[in-house]
């Protein structure tokens, strides 16, 4: 196995796919592992950068305190919203049973 392929293993792919709730076919996993490894290798220059004393940029411009007044505005019509739901029951969105508790 080459250096590149080792950057992201099939196990890594399964892990991120689980974090991202993406169901992948078994035969796709290997291909994604190679492709993601290639991408990571391509961006490796960034990982190796000397960034001592360089702050990160989260926003291009340093704007602060963008706020709005605590004033009620119109809500959406429930029927319109529920009409777009894959599955609605009464006035709510329906989902299959949830396995885990909320964190």
């Amino acid at each position: 196995m080459s250096e590149t392929e080792r950057l992201i293993s099939p196990g890594d792919v399964r892990h991120v796919a689980r974090l991202a709730r993406l169901a992948l076919e078994d035969d796709e996993i290997g291909r994604y592992a190679s492709q993601l490894s290639a991408i990571l290798e391509h961006v490796d220059a960034v990982r190796r950068l000397d960034t001592a004393n360089v702050p990160p940029t989260a926003h291009p411009f340093p704007v602060e305190n963008v706020l709005r007044d605590d004033v009620v505005t119109a809500s959406l019509d429930r029927a319109t919203v529920l009409a777009q739901a894959p599955l609605a029951e009464g006035d709510c969105f329906q989902v299959p049973r949830i396995m885990g508790e909320a964190p």
């Binding site: 689980r18 974090l19 709730r21 989260a58 926003h59 704007v63 602060e64 305190n65 963008v66 706020l67 709005r68 007044d69 605590d70 004033v71 009620v72 505005t73 119109a74 809500s75 959406l76 429930r78 919203v81 529920l82 029951e89 009464g90 006035d91 709510c92 969105f93 329906q94 989902v95 299959p96 049973r97 949830i98 396995m99 885990g100 508790e101 909320a102 964190p103």
Partner: protein
């Protein structure tokens, strides 16, 4: 004692009393028809963007100030995880740059619990589990209502300074009083506007390292909190004593069972992948925000208790007095009647009496009591102190004052509570002496206990109208004559 120390940290989520949600203009209201207060933003529709509610920031700063925190420049982060009640499948919260840090909460007994942080975040929607008795694991499916999604929350995280279940309860009780006093929240645990999770661990007394902690959820009342902490401490001690290790896990409090059990969730690492929220700008607590936060905020419960205690000259020594004055101070402040008492004392009422009447009688109807005119309350207290009214009569007048208003003097008159005619009183005293010669002899011989009996006889004969002090004075006068 078991030789173990209880260590508890509490995370309290508090819904803010704003008119609208944290990031959109939908109404922030409890108990409305499902999915009626939703919009593209709080529903997380594609293309929507959040905009921060100024009032929520002011209230968050207000809470921080009330908890003696330091306000600081803060940013929002995305906390990424999937759950049906989360419209975006990430929660906009605060991570390592929260708005309030490093404060403390002072309990009524004077002890302090450190506050690590009080940060802002948005609430989730609500899921109802259908089938299986409403329990998540036996459900066939779930229904989601997003009315609550996006409601502003402040999460208050204490340091692990709490050392008992009782103290945990006192902490939440005081915190709730503070939150209500700031006007930032209505603090209703039963409505979910105040939610408590407890982090509980134990360690041998004298140890400096913390033991493994478990997070306990589903604490819906103060009583649950206290019971759960006690249970969890006992469970952990038993594990350790039997040579096992406490597993770090999240546990669910079962009220009916009186126990905690581990949540049977799927083996899934909770990697939240926090990163700064790119759709929002940083918050800097500038002079405007801080001034708006402080505006109209009165003194906190601890301050008010101190003020009242000083006024009534209650101090630590008296904490064990039978008349329970310190409890009365706490009760009066809790009910928001301290201004009434202070006002009455300023108008000349006897402090102890005003306090007692507020804590015991006015407390029966706090809403009405808050509307009492302190001058009228003072006048009533003076009528009782001077002997014009007996204690019983005074309480009746107060009740009437609260339910129908009026003036104490006029009410007393109407109820026929004039001070009893002196000669009528004298006659009654004579009658009682005559009817109870043996008791009278004993009283004259120095028996104080029988004085109560004689007094009681006069009170009975007068149907409560006699003034106890005057009667007692009459007996003394005859004995010494």
């Amino acid at each position: 004692m078991t030789g173990y120390e209880t260590v508890v940290g509490l995370e309290v989520h508090c819904e803010l009393s704003t008119a609208t949600k944290l990031f959109c203009g939908c109404r922030n209201a409890f108990g409305e028809a499902p999915n009626t207060n939703i919009c593209p933003v709080c529903l997380g529709l594609p293309g929507s963007l959040p905009v921060i509610n100024r009032r929520a920031v002011e209230l968050a700063l207000r809470i921080g100030a009330a908890l003696n925190c330091k306000p600081q420049r803060s940013i929002f982060h995305r906390k990424n995880y999937f759950y049906p009640d989360m419209p975006k499948d990430y929660q906009i919260s605060q991570y390592d740059e929260p708005i309030n840090v490093d404060g403390f909460l002072e309990l009524p007994d004077g002890s302090r619990v450190g506050i690590e942080r009080a940060h802002m975040e948005e609430d989730t929607g609500k899921t109802t589990h259908i089938g299986g008795g409403g329990r998540i694991h036996e459900a066939s499916h779930s229904l989601v209502d997003y009315n609550r999604a996006g409601v502003p929350l402040v999460e208050i995280v204490s340091r692990p300074d709490i050392r008992s279940a009782v103290q945990a309860r006192a902490y939440v009780d005081e915190l709730r009083a503070i939150l209500v006093a700031t006007g930032a929240s209505d603090g209703r645990m039963e409505e979910g506007s105040l939610r408590v999770d407890a982090n509980v661990s134990v360690r041998p007394v004298g140890a400096t390292e913390y033991g493994t902690r478990c997070e306990v959820k589903n604490l819906n009342s103060l009583r649950s909190l206290e019971r759960a902490v006690d249970y969890e401490v006992a469970r952990q001690i038993e594990l350790i004593e039997s040579g096992q290790r406490v597993a770090q896990e999240t546990r669910h409090w079962d009220e009916a069972d009186g126990s905690t059990h581990a949540l049977r969730s799927k083996e899934e690492a909770n990697d939240y992948r926090y990163f700064p929220e790119p759709d929002l700008t940083p918050l800097v607590p500038d002079a405007y925000l801080l001034a708006a936060a402080a505006e109209g905020v009165g003194p906190m419960p601890a301050q008010r208790r101190r003020r009242l205690s000083e006024l009534v000259s209650v101090n630590a020594e008296l904490a064990t007095r039978r008349d329970g004055s310190t409890d009365q101070v706490g009760t009066v402040v809790d009910l928001g009647l301290d201004d009434l008492v202070v006002g009455a004392v300023t108008a000349g009422a006897d402090p102890r009496l005003a306090l007692a009447r507020a804590a015991n009688e006015a407390a029966a109807n706090p809403e009405a009591a808050k509307k009492l005119d302190p001058a009228a309350f003072a006048a009533l207290c003076k009528m009782e102190s001077s002997g014009q009214l007996s204690a019983t009569q005074s309480k009746e007048v107060l009740a009437e004052l609260m339910s129908h208003g009026g003036a104490p003097g006029e009410i007393a008159s109407r109820l026929g509570y004039e001070a009893m005619d002196e000669s009528a009183l004298d006659k009654m005293v004579e009658d009682v002496i005559t009817s109870n010669p043996q008791e009278w002899q004993r009283y004259c011989g120095g028996d104080e206990k029988v004085a109560q009996f004689l007094l009681g006889q006069v009170m009975r004969a007068s149907k409560g109208r006699a003034n106890g002090k005057l009667v007692a004075a009459a007996f003394v006068a005859r004995r010494d004559a």
